[in-house]
């Protein structure tokens, strides 16, 4: 049984901070199929489109019939743990600092044998289920997990290396006065966060729900933060930058309006100011500190969360300026992901459909409750995901994009 995680002690300020190291990152292009599945939290294996053989490690052709028609398909994650070992020595710096480390051979019910990280609650000879997760290099690895959930299983140090669980971590919610910001803060508290820094972009304005949340839980600390103001962002980073382990950027600017029907770019500029430049300001102020603390104990800095929109992937012309800012934000997030990769801080992008909030008043249902998006964010962090699609509309649009993105363009334009 996994020992429950102990709340981390206050850090001794003169103690050296352990610098981040990464597990080996190189992979063949074929193996990146595993990464795509892990990033979205699904379990897929390379499968032959002709004979149906499932294979691992990934190859260029089918090891049975030599067909080149290889596809990635949902696979049965069940297997038997037929051998285990505990590494007590490693030449690799990352593992050397984390010994002992348990790995094993799992004979998959679907065919092949795989080498996997082994959860401490798995018994040799017993049934396990495999999961694809991203490691601190951002690359996919297999974890053998107990067949059924066990108490505190997410607290196991090896598994926690692949996840970004809010438990005992400190979270900055950049805009805590929006419905989304409040929902995210509540979800983080429920998930066991040690502290929530609740950003307040409008200290001159009273928002009852904000005040109520601050009053309800001593873990909530209101902080002044306006992502459109570089000084404001820098001031906050100087004050709490070393304590932020998960940053959820809830600052958002959503307005209706396309491009041709206007004579100015004020709307577009405002959207970019918050949605794109705001993210960049936060990243420049908080990113380096988070990277520095990416291996700092059990409450190391782990995740940067961007709440985007499914329209980051396909413009909604009725909100053309805003859509463009979402696409730009997605592009910036991809750069952040590359820039954070060296430290191992995960960049998680959230792609919801329309959300039930004031600026979506005229959008017909289905609309997502902010609490539902917040829940998906917590689950994404606990699962260690990189891309989270929330709600039926987001899922549907994504499927349609895969089928025919030209058709989606035409249909969204109507």
């Amino acid at each position: 049984m996994t020992d429950p995680l102990v709340k981390p002690k206050k850090k001794n300020p003169v103690e050296r901070t352990r610098l981040p190291t990464r597990p080996p990152a190189p992979r063949s292009r074929a193996a990146q199929g595993l990464t795509r599945a892990a990033a979205e939290g699904v379990f897929e294996m390379q499968t032959c489109g002709d004979c149906g053989a499932l294979q691992y490690p990934p190859r260029e052709v089918c090891h049975q019939c030599l067909s080149e028609r290889l596809v990635w398909k949902d696979a049965d994650p069940r297997g038997t743990l037929i051998a285990t070992t505990v590494l007590r020595h490693s030449n690799d710096l990352y593992f050397r600092e984390r010994l002992p480390w348990k790995v094993g051979t799992v004979k998959m019910a679907a065919g092949p044998s795989v080498v996997a990280h082994v959860h401490e609650d798995c018994a040799e000879g017993g049934a396990v289920r495999l999961a694809l997760k991203l490691d601190r290099s951002g690359q996919a690895v297999l974890h053998a997990l107990p067949e059924k959930d066990t108490p505190n299983m997410n607290d196991a140090p090896q598994l926690r290396e692949s996840t970004c669980d809010p438990k005992f971590r400190r979270v900055l919610v950049s805009d805590g006065k929006s419905a989304m910001g409040l929902a995210v803060a509540r979800a983080m508290l429920d998930a066991g966060a040690n502290a929530v820094f609740l950003g307040d972009p409008t200290s001159w304005k009273t928002v009852k729900a904000f005040d109520a949340l601050v009053a309800s839980d001593p873990r909530v600390q209101p902080v002044e933060l306006d992502v459109t103001d570089t000084d404001s962002v820098d001031r906050l980073a100087a004050s709490i930058g070393g304590k932020v382990e998960i940053l959820v950027n809830t600052a958002a600017y959503l307005r209706d309006g396309g491009i041709l029907g206007r004579k100015d770019v004020i709307l577009a500029r405002d959207a970019f100011e918050v949605n794109v430049l705001g993210m960049m300001r936060l990243a420049q102020a908080f990113g380096p500190g988070m990277g520095f603390r990416a291996a700092d104990g059990s409450n190391n800095a782990v995740a940067w969360v961007n709440i985007l929109s499914i329209h980051a992937l396909a413009a909604l012309p009725a909100r053309g300026a805003w859509s463009a800012s979402m696409a730009a934000a997605l592009s910036a997030a991809q750069t952040l992901r590359a820039e954070f990769a060296g430290a191992g801080v995960r960049v998680m992008n959230v792609f919801p459909g329309p959300i039930d909030e004031e600026w979506e008043q005229l959008t017909p249902p289905p609309k997502l409750a902010p609490a539902a998006v917040a829940k998906a964010i917590v689950q994404g962090l606990q699962g260690g995901l990189e891309d989270v699609y929330v709600g039926d509309i987001a899922e549907e649009l994504r499927t349609r994009l895969r089928e025919n993105h030209k058709a989606v363009e035409r249909e969204l334009g109507q």
């Binding site: 074929a30 691992y56 490690p57 090891h63 051998a83 505990v86 690799d92 040799e124």
Partner: protein, 393 residues
């Protein structure tokens, strides 16, 4: 379907001139230096002119970016037959196999088979981190930066499946160390007791310190030529009774508990017209003790799963009931990269030409050399074996 074709014998082809370039734990030299010295020893020792060596067969992990081709210019050789065998622990057997057929067919007259590697302070790490694509994709990310974890997994499985104990593995290691104390080339110079073996620090459960070979620098070599030439040059020679090789055997086994020998051993003994009982000594590839047990079983000295009992019954020292790894094996001599795949071959040649010095087995007539190599992902892929026989009475 037509009847299976009969394999030709190795009549008229012999192996001569086993050479060892004494190993060093670390070396500042490159692989070219070690391989060049081995070739030099072969030429000087045999009395051949350099140009008379018209075939070369090379194995090395650390020769990069060169291959055997670049090495030929480096060494000033112009062979008409050249092979590069990247098969690790199976390289010695496979080199003998390839070279003997080339000489037999007349494609070359004299083939120098050489294997060697250097070992810089950090080269073991570099070699393992670039070993194979499957290892890169599916082993290194799990902390197993090297073969220890892969062998730990199959050792764990073998122990649970067949009841082998650490004492059984220890008995083999202790016997090999005893043999090594008679071999001046062995890097391990101190006796090893079973208690020391058992108490050694764990590396990767159930692998402990003395289950692991020590990487080092070194080179080995031998010549393949016609019997007629060997007689004319008065070089002591060994005959090749039979050889086998196999790659990626039993791919559907969920974890390795047998090697390719199990597919080919009947052919091995039949072709040489000998039985396991006729074999006077065995030189296995011993990168980890469990692999010795696989070889005892798969080469027919006992049935599958019975190697632990076989180990308990026998004495594996030079004067014992089952003389085995008489040089001390890689576990006690050191693992000089690809030269580790030649260690058993040159030792067997010495045994069969009465040049094994203090490790000599009285009157050895038939020896078995076995090779195993290349953990590409989760298991060793190459296996091979050769039966060698005393040339001159």
């Amino acid at each position: 379907m037509s009847a299976p074709r009969t394999r030709l014998g190795y009549d008229g082809v012999v192996a001569v001139m086993p050479v060892t370039i004494p190993y060093a734990r670390y070396s500042t030299r490159s692989a070219h230096w070690w391989l060049g010295r081995a070739l030099g020893e072969l030429i000087r020792g045999s009395g051949l002119a350099k140009a008379a060596v018209d075939g070369v067969c090379v194995s090395s992990f650390t020769l990069g970016p060169d291959t055997a081709v670049g090495l030929m210019q480096h060494l000033g050789m112009s062979p008409r037959w050249l092979d590069h065998i990247p098969m690790g622990g199976a390289s010695g057997v496979v080199a003998l196999r390839r070279a003997s057929r080339a000489v037999q067919a007349g494609d070359a007259e004299v083939i120098a088979c050489i294997a060697g590697d250097t070992n810089h302070v950090d080269s073991f790490r570099n070699t393992v981190s670039q070993f194979s694509r499957f290892a890169q994709d599916a082993v290194y990310p799990y902390g197993a930066g090297g073969p220890n974890a892969s062998f730990a997994l199959l050792t764990d499985h073998y122990m649970k499946q067949y009841g082998a104990t650490r004492e059984d593995f220890g008995k083999l290691c202790v016997a090999q160390r005893e043999n090594a104390l008679r071999n001046p080339h062995a890097l391990m110079k101190k006796p090893l007791t079973l208690a020391q073996y058992i108490d050694a620090r764990p590396i990767t459960d159930p692998i402990h310190l003395f289950d692991c070979v020590m990487p080092c620098a070194g080179a080995e070599g031998f010549l393949v030529m016609t019997e007629e030439r060997a007689r004319a040059m008065k070089l002591p020679f060994v005959r090749i009774g039979s050889t086998i090789e196999r790659h990626n055997a039993f791919p559907d086994d969920p974890i390795q508990f047998r090697g390719g020998w199990a597919m080919d051993r009947d052919a091995l003994y039949e072709h040489a017209a000998v039985a396991p009982a006729d074999v006077d000594f065995v030189e296995t590839y011993d990168d980890y003790p469990v692999i010795n047990m696989l070889q005892f079983e798969d080469l027919g000295f006992c049935a599958k799963g019975e190697a632990p009992a076989f180990v308990r019954e026998h004495d594996f020292t030079i004067a014992g009931s089952f003389p085995f790894n008489t040089s001390g094996g890689q576990l006690s001599v050191g693992q000089a990269g690809a030269a580790g795949g030649y260690l058993g071959m040159v030792q067997a040649m010495r045994q069969l030409t009465d040049s094994a010095g203090a490790t000599q087995i009285e009157g050895a007539r038939v020896g078995l050399v076995s090779g195993f190599g290349m953990i590409n992902y989760d298991r060793g892929l190459c296996s091979g074996a050769a039966i060698l026989e005393r040339g001159q009475a």
